[in-house]
């Protein structure tokens, strides 16, 4: 995956990077003016979209932004650390259920419930990741799949999660007297979350921990010989991924006002994974593109109907066979 480092640099140019080798292609983004101009254009577009397009587009875009957050989280697990997680929806569920349950059973407000939800998701990440990250990488895939199903079945069976009907009547939050309620308001909430998610991803990728993920993914033994604790580093990726998932889940729950186990199925996990891989594992702009394709594609091509998933599945297969680095262009070496 030549591209992780590339995407990091695209987003976060080092002040004085010489134009040698690979850096050459990315030279455009080394020009801070062009880089910030591109960022500004994107931000303005995000800000005015709901004003230009109707409510329906706003709702769909909100959904796409939710996927951006989820995909960036899964990207840390799959794209950076190279761990195949087939049960990512479980963390999405933990976040959503945690705020819903706390909102109903306790007097904590929405904002006070968030830390608990995040801790719950991180704990779930440690509990499932701790013992399994030592295993072969393909065992991890199946364990996460099993774990995803366990979470969904538990949500379906337990009284506290509202069983199969789920939890409805989840209160919309207020912030300094502003009641977040309309689709447009939620759109901006998710836009803000996405921006934070992107910034956090860029910063993580550019850090000691982010590099350690790449080292471990490229060569576990060499990484360990460098003094990197591979289990710990993978666990960090897994837990951070779970926190991203939980954040997505928390706001998903208050946006929809009602949650039920169907929203956290294996299919959901697969869709998020597809977005990450289609766009380009490890590449932040690619992952964002993937999220938009997965959400907007079916809405634009309503006629596809049942074919929707088949088209994505075939796309996934073709990508893996012919362009494993995803749709987003890679730097040449």
């Amino acid at each position: 995956m030549a591209d992780d480092a590339a995407s990091r640099r695209r987003r976060d140019p080092a002040p004085s990077r010489p134009n040698t080798g690979v850096a050459q292609l990315l030279a455009v983004f080394d020009d801070p003016r062009k880089f910030w101009l591109a960022i500004a254009v994107v931000l303005v577009a995000v800000a005015v979209a709901p004003l230009l397009f109707g409510q329906y587009a706003t709702v769909i875009l909100t959904n796409a932004l939710l996927y951006v957050v989820l995909c960036l989280g899964l990207n840390i697990v799959v794209g950076y650390a190279g761990l195949l997680d087939l049960g990512y929806a479980a963390f999405f569920a933990v976040g959503a259920y945690a705020v819903a349950i706390l909102g109903q059973q306790t007097a904590l407000g929405f904002w006070a419930a968030i830390p608990f939800a995040l801790v719950a998701a991180a704990a779930a990440g440690v509990i499932i990741g701790g013992p399994t990250l030592r295993l072969r990488s393909d065992y991890l895939a199946i364990v996460t799949l099993g774990f995803g199903e366990i979470v969904r079945f538990s949500a379906r069976n337990l009284e506290i999660t509202g069983a199969a009907s789920g939890i409805s009547g989840i209160e919309q939050p207020s912030l300094f007297g502003w009641h977040i309620d309309s689709p447009t308001e939620f759109y901006y909430v998710f836009a803000l979350l996405s921006v934070f998610a992107v910034i956090a991803s860029v910063r993580l990728a550019n850090s000691r921990l982010g590099r350690a993920w790449l080292y471990v993914r490229h060569d576990e033994d060499a990484a360990e010989a460098m003094g990197i604790d591979r289990v710990r580093v993978k666990l960090a990726a897994y837990v951070i991924g779970s926190i991203y998932g939980a954040i997505g889940g928390i706001f998903f729950a208050v946006n929809l006002g009602a949650i039920s186990p169907e929203s956290f199925s294996f299919e959901q996990s697969v869709l998020i994974l597809m977005a990450v891989i289609l766009g380009g594992m490890g590449k932040i702009p690619g992952v964002i593109l993937g999220a938009f394709i997965i959400v907007l594609g079916p809405e634009l091509l309503r006629d596809l109907g049942e074919l929707r998933l088949l088209v994505f599945a075939v796309g996934l297969l073709l990508i893996m066979l012919f362009r494993p680095s995803g749709i987003w262009p890679s730097r040449k070496s």
């Binding site: 397009f53 409510q55 769909i60 199969a164 409805s168 907007l296 109907g305």
Partner: protein
């Protein structure tokens, strides 16, 4: 420069995509027609039922349009695919809401219908729910939605009354772990225990599980007089088959989700003598005869279980629009609430304070010779 071009291309793509979205949300019809939204699953696991409901609305709209339309304007239909999934249903509902529909008909999977209530509520759009009947919908209804299918509670009443009449003392209740069947199972358990009878077993199976033999043995060991399956025909067929194969000889009853001719294909002979509680389907409604014929002529097969109710839903909405004399939402909702029990295909419709059907419309069917017949 490469990257600049790429950025341009992407911007163009994004613009086109968003343009496409906003186009999709434009009113589907010309200004002088009345747009009615139809929220049904046209894809996903329940697409058969959804398309069936959509077809019924089409027939109703066609009949109205042939008679000159509503308030002198033609009806245009626009579909919102809920795919039986909460998130997709929300997308569909937002789309319908932003198309300025006069009203919405449909609602199949209760779990998917639930989060859409708020969207229609916020826009104050009249919503006639023609299939979803979970009791969870009632408290979530802001007042603009009207349920013309009897609720799970009504089905429970019918089921308990019927099983008592058969002298059944103990029953095993099996559901499939989804909102609809779990709700029905819980309601039945409570009602049955309240009637002083015994619930011998209360079980959940997973959708798509093929082997129920262990469960069958467990049920046989509990030896109930009857087994009540509260979920859909697909897995119900398998369970019935394995119950009989495993030597269970008591009564078997199923809820309205299993009322399908396919139950006989899957369960074979084992479905003989099985009782089903059902909302009235076309073949058992004397008034639905001509509707059935039109449906068969137009779509090549018999109308499914929710077709007559959905036809009624469209007709009821049309009646309310005529009565209100306007396409403004408020007066239409008032008109719907005042439904006075006049006769429709499925019988009289009037509403309780909670906007649910004021009477139970459930009937009991029995498997005879590979098809459903009226029991009692």
């Amino acid at each position: 420069m490469r990257i600049t071009r790429r950025t341009l291309a992407l911007t163009a793509f994004a613009g086109a995509a968003l343009g496409g979205l906003s186009l999709a949300s434009l009113p589907a019809a010309a200004q002088d027609s009345i747009t009615i939204g139809v929220q049904v699953p046209t894809t996903g696991p329940e697409a058969t039922y959804g398309n069936d409901m959509f077809n019924a609305v089409k027939i109703a709209a066609q009949e109205i349009n042939e008679k000159g339309g509503l308030l002198g304007r033609q009806i245009e239909l626009t579909a919102g695919d809920s795919a039986c999934d909460p998130q997709q249903a929300v997308n569909a509902a937002s789309k319908l809401a932003s198309q300025d529909v006069v009203g919405v008909v449909g609602g199949y999977c209760s779990g998917a219908t639930l989060p859409t209530l708020k969207i229609y509520g916020d826009a104050n759009i009249p919503f006639v729910i023609t299939a979803s009947n979970s009791t969870k919908l009632i408290p979530a209804n802001p007042g603009n939605a009207f349920m013309i299918n009897s609720t799970g509670a009504d089905q429970t009443t019918k089921a308990v009354e019927f099983m008592e009449s058969k002298g059944i003392e103990s029953v095993a209740i099996v559901n499939q772990g989804d909102a609809y069947s779990q709700d029905l199972a819980n309601l039945t358990r409570d009602a049955w225990e309240q009637a002083g009878k015994k619930v011998a077993a209360f079980e959940t199976v997973n959708k798509g599980e093929q082997d129920y033999s262990a469960l069958v043995t467990k049920i046989k060991a509990a030896d109930p007089d009857a087994v009540f399956w509260t979920a859909y025909y697909a897995d119900g067929g398998l369970l019935i088959r394995q119950l009989r194969q495993g030597g269970y000889r008591g009564t078997i009853a199923v809820g309205d989700g299993s009322n399908s001719p396919k139950l006989f294909e899957i369960a074979g002979r084992a479905a003989e003598g099985v009782y089903a509680f059902s909302n009235p389907t076309a073949e058992f409604l004397p008034k639905a005869k001509s509707f059935s014929e039109t449906y068969k002529k137009q779509f090549g097969n018999a109308p499914g279980p929710y077709a007559p109710l959905t036809y009624d839903g469209m007709m009821l909405l049309a009646w309310a629009i005529e009565k209100a004399g306007t396409t403004d939402h408020g007066p239409i909702i008032e008109a719907l609430a005042s439904a006075d029990g006049q006769e429709w295909l499925s019988g009289p419709i009037s509403f309780t304070d909670e906007n649910t059907l004021a009477r139970s419309n459930f009937i009991v069917l029995e498997g005879k010779g590979g098809e459903w017949a009226l029991a009692e």
